[in-house]
Each structure stands twice: as C-alpha cells, then as structure tokens.
Amino acid sequence: MEVVVFIACAVICVTGAIGVVVANNPVHSALMLVATLFGVAVLFLTMDAQFLAAVQIIVYAGAIVVLFLFVIMLFGVYRSENLRVEPIAGQRPLSIAVAVSTLALAVIIVAVATGGSPTGQQAATEPLVDSVTVHSTSATEALTDNQPIGEEIFPNVEQLGRVIFTDYVWAFEITAVLLTIAVVGAIALARRQRGEEESAAPVSPAAAPAPAAAASAASAPIGSAAASATHTEEA
C-alpha cells in the first residue's frame, strides 16, 4: 500500500516538475507547481509529518503560488519566451549535463551512505545523531522505531512545537524578524511615492496581503501548538 502511494505521488511530483520547466505559459507553470506541491505534501503525510503537510498546502500552495499568479495576472506576462532559441551557445546541453551530474551525485551519495541496508544509522551519520538527540530527548523518543504502540505517542504537532520553542527558539525569533522585514520591504518596494510618474500598476494591495497571510499562517499554528503542548503537560 505504501508503495502504491509513493509511486503515485512520485509520478505527480515529477510530472509537475517537468511541466514547470517545459510549459510555455507561466500560468500553466504555476499550476504544475501546485501539482508538485500537493504530491510533496502527501509524501510528507506518508512520513508522519502531518503538520508540515498541512502547512505546505497552506503556505506554499495557498499563498506563495497565489502570489505568483497575482503578479502574472497583473502584468500580463504571457509573452511566452521562445524556448527554441538559446541566447548563450551551448547552454542547453551544458544545463542537461549539470542536471544529470547533480542527480548522479545524489544517487551515488545515497548508495554509499546506505550501503546495502537502506534504513538504519550508518557510521557517517552517527556523531550527528548523538549530538542532536541529546538536546531534544522527550520529543525524539516518541519517534524511534521501537516505540510500542500501547504507550503515548506525542502528536506530531506537539513534538514540533516543543522543539521549536526550546531548542530552536533563536531561529524562530530571527525568522519572525525576517518575516516582518519582508512585509515592510515588499510594501516599500511596491508603493509609489507622490510625484513619481504614473507609469505602473501598483501591486501593493495584492502583494502585501498574500505574504502577510502566508507569514501569519506559518507562524501562528506553531505558536499555539507549543502553547497547547505546555498546557497539556502541566495540566
């Protein structure tokens, strides 16, 4: 059953990815990107990352690609570039070579690192595991493979919430600042000052809502997940 789900999602992801690259019309590229994002979200679900699957749809497919579509619609960017013309000689074959060699590198690394037994912790990764699991003990204990089903399994959201607000709280606060900077910067870049020539269509009403919505949608659920985690722990 898991194999069927994986194959189906992999087909959707790869078809979407090829569609993004090959489509003439940017709107079709965006829709193919949405297909890929949905495929990746279902793959997250198969790996027990339910919160990330939902947030992927809310933030990526529901806000970022919507932002892309707004810009495409407002500027009428369908002058489809002529994909047959190469501005730099030899660019196409070189790009194919780069892509194929990247893929080959990834496959070789995977083969060497797993070396016959695909799951399990190999020597190359053991120090990494030890140093990380020392910090987040209670959250990670629930994820190990020998957790009997009868005991309490922490919900995925709670685990994530705990670790973000304790181990990675610095990163969390800095990304919050980053989001604020992004919203302020986008509005500053997109507005027109008094006296500037009226030569453009403003994007601010459309552009500003989407990232702010994305920002609040991404950061807010984690906030309450951690809050509810602390509450249930001390209740």
Binding site: A54, V66, F70, I149, A212, S216
Partner: protein
C-alpha cells in the same frame, strides 16, 4: 515508523485509532475498513448535497418572508422543488466557451471551487454521543467516529482547503479572457486572502482552549455545556463569523459578485453546467463553513441525549439544529445588511479584525498560562487587557498618522474606483488582457 505501523496492523487495534494515527492506511487495510469509509463518504456527500438544495430554497423563501413577499411557490408545495427546477434550467442552457478564453483552465476552475468544500466537510463530526462514549459508534463491531476522517491536524486541513478555494476564483476570472471577470477575480482573491489571516487567528483561540488540532478532540472538550463560544470569550466567535462571511463572498461582503458593480464578477462568462457548479460551490461553502462554526464554537453534536438506544441520532439532530441556526443567520445577513465598499472591507479585515484576533489570542494565552502557574486571575486579566488597550491605541495612532501622509495609492482613481486600488494604466502594453490594459479601456483611452 514503518515497524511501528506494522505493530498497529499486527495487534489489530480499533479502526478509530487507525483513522487518527494512520490516515493513509499504510499499515494495511481490510475489507471492513474500506466498506465503512465508502459508506461514510457516500453519506457525507449526500448530506452535503441535500443541505445545499435545502439552503438555496430556504434562502429564497426566508428573504422573501423578510421582504414581505411570497417567494417561490410554483414548483412543488411551498416551492421546495424550485432548486430542482433551477438546476434543470441551467442544465439545458447553452454551454458557452468564450473565444478569448483559455480552454483548459476555464474548464478546470469550477472544480477547484467545488472540491475544497467537500473535503472540508469530511472532517466535521456530524453525530455521536459525546457524553458517555466519546462520540464512538460501533458498526458491525468496528468502532468508528461519525465523521469521514479525523486527521490529527483536522483544523489545518480546513485552512488548507480554504486556501485552495482561492484558485477557483482567481483562475475563473483570468481564464475568461475578459475585463469584468479579471477585475472581479483579483478583488475577490485579495478579499479572501486577507480574511484568511483573521480566520486562522480565531481558529487559534479555539485550538488554544481545546488543546488539539483534531476536530473530534475539539468537540470532545465541549461536552457539559462548556462550549467554546463562551470559553474563548465571545470575541473569537464574532471575528470568525465576520471573516467567514467575507471568505464566502456573502453579503455584506459580496461586492465582487454584485450585479450592479461587476455584472457577475468572476463567473460572468460561465453558463449552464459550469455556472451551476459555481453556484453550487458557493452554497456548499456556506453550509460547510456553518458546519465548521458549529464544530468549533457551538459544541458540534453535543446536546442532551434523551434515549439510550440509537443515542447517536440525538447527536445528528443537535448538529442539524445548530447548523440550521447558523444558516438562518447567514440568510439574515443577506436580507438586512447593505453592501460594504471594497476599501472599507479591506480596512475592516486588516486594521480591525487581525489586530483584535491577535490581541485576544495573546490575552487568552496569558490567562491560560496564569491558570497553570496559579497566578492571581484578576491581576492577569487586568494586566493583559491593559496591554491590549495600549496596543490598540498605538495602532490607531499609527493608522491616523498614515492617513495624514497619503500617497497616490490612497487617492481615488480617475474613473471613480475609490480606494487603494485605483489603478492607473501603463502605456504601450498591447495585446495582453492584463489588469493595466483593462483599466485603460475602462477609462476610455485606448
């Protein structure tokens, strides 16, 4: 985790647990689970369609009652078959594909509006006895819940589907290849996206109080009449109702599909079956959103259980009663409230609802923390409300300062389109039906 899942199927636990822990049935699935899921899906589908048919008739009848007229009374007794008659009429109309439209996306857009409503209804608990049995019913020996799916992140699924519904609106307008739909769709998507933030923040107040993202858990914490309506304070409920009305493009926030303004908005160029899909999608979203409000704030299927046999029926009954109350409220809004202008709408969403819901969430979080740590509740409430008021005052000062230094965006556009989206066209952008060119044509210079 695969070995853990193998343990799940080996010890054959209740399918209810499997539904929650293993949403993709990766641990193996038997014929019984498949049949149960199939029955539930068919039942939810039927329930949703019937309630949409009822809602369309009910709205017309109720509005006509409030306006002192009779309303539909020709098709069937009291006009109950009017929806069927309308549907048949739409079915037989000519199916237009405008020559300027983009075929594939034009055909795809109605489904992108329709499918999220169905999926959202899948996580709504429709019945069950939550007093004694935690909403678990037993079908042929398999314990299960009276909802199609209960993922541990159910509430996020609702948010995700409302994000996907934006695509239907946007792509419908763009793919029609014509002016009014494009304008309408951009405005509608901006409206929906803006109110999604306020919606999400009021969701968070409920999640904070309930302690879980699963809809089943949220309903379980509302037994014995501690509905989230008053446990969260009334503010999140009010904000949720307003945001939901804006999300659904219902009056008083229906500028984008108002006939006097934009002909039909984003669905102007649709006819026949495709239009009926949009029509259906709009009412289905109303029913689904009302079901979600019932689940989150009004206790879902909780209510007094008066008999012992078939006690889950009482749950379904109470759910339908509460759903009916909310549908009545939405129709009431339509019948009585005047339409809001677009810039007033955006102001309300960004400058009022989002700060209020965020501030209230912080107040609730402070009270919750104070409860855990045994602080003096009165002091906690006083301090947090004080901070809330100070923050709102600062926000108002900032808004006032911003209004005094207007830039071009704040002035009305030359064609009288008031508000920050008074677009001014570019020159020399030929051929493409972009918004800039649309505006130029509306101004008469082209």
């Amino acid at each position: 985790m695969t070995s853990a899942l193998a343990l799940v199927s080996a010890t054959a636990p209740a399918p209810a647990a499997v539904f929650a822990v293993d949403p993709l049935f990766l641990g193996g699935v038997g014929l019984e689970e498949v049949i149960i899921v199939a029955i539930k899906v068919v039942a939810a589908f039927t329930l949703l369609l019937l309630s949409v048919v009822f809602m369309i008739w009910f709205e017309r009848k109720l509005i006509s009652d409030m306006q002192n007229r009779i309303g539909p009374n020709v098709a069937g007794p009291f006009g109950v078959l009017q929806t069927l008659a309308d549907g048949l009429k739409l079915f037989f109309k000519e199916d237009l594909l405008p020559a300027q439209s983009r075929r594939l996306v034009f055909k795809l857009a109605p489904y992108l509006s329709l499918v999220p409503a169905f999926i959202t209804f899948a996580v709504v608990p429709v019945g069950g006895n939550f007093h004694d049995k935690q909403g678990v019913v037993s079908w042929w020996g398999n314990p299960t819940h009276l909802q199609v799916a209960d993922p541990p992140v159910g509430v996020l699924l609702i948010l995700a589907m409302s994000s996907v519904a934006v695509y239907g609106i946007m792509l419908a307008g763009w793919s029609s290849g014509s002016k009014y739909p494009l304008l309408g769709s951009v405005r509608a998507s901006a409206q929906v996206v803006s109110y999604e933030a306020a919606l999400g923040l009021s969701f968070l107040s409920v999640i904070l109080v309930a302690g879980s993202l699963s809809t089943h858990e949220i309903v379980s914490t509302q037994t014995t009449y501690n509905w989230n309506l008053w446990v969260t304070g009334f503010v999140p409920f009010v904000i949720f109702m307003i945001s939901a009305t804006a999300e659904l493009n219902r009056p008083p926030f229906d500028l984008v599909e108002a006939e006097q303004e934009l002909v039909g908005g984003f669905h102007t160029e649709y006819s026949s079956l495709r239009f009926s899909l949009f029509y259906l999608a709009e009412f289905m979203n109303v029913v689904t959103m009302s079901a979600i409000i019932v689940t989150l704030f009004l206790g879902g299927p909780n209510g007094p259980i008066l008999t012992d046999t078939a006690d889950w029926v009482w749950g379904v009954l109470w759910f339908l009663v509460k759903l009916f109350v909310l549908l009545f409220t939405f129709v009431w809004f339509r019948a009585t409230l005047p339409r809001m202008r677009y810039d007033q709408l955006m102001d309300l969403g960004w400058k009022v609802l989002i700060p209020f819901s965020l501030g209230w969430l912080l107040v609730l979080a402070a009270v919750d923390l104070g409860d855990d740590r045994d602080w003096n509740p009165a002091a906690v409430v006083a301090v947090s409300v004080g901070v809330f008021v100070v923050a709102m005052g600062l926000l108002q000062m900032a808004i006032r300062a911003g209004r005094q230094a207007p830039d071009i965006d704040d002035m009305a556009g030359p064609d009288g389109l008031a508000g920050p989206d008074g677009f001014v066209g570019t020159d020399g952008l030929a051929g493409a039906d972009s918004l800039a060119e649309t505006h130029m044509e509306l101004e008469g210079r082209n």
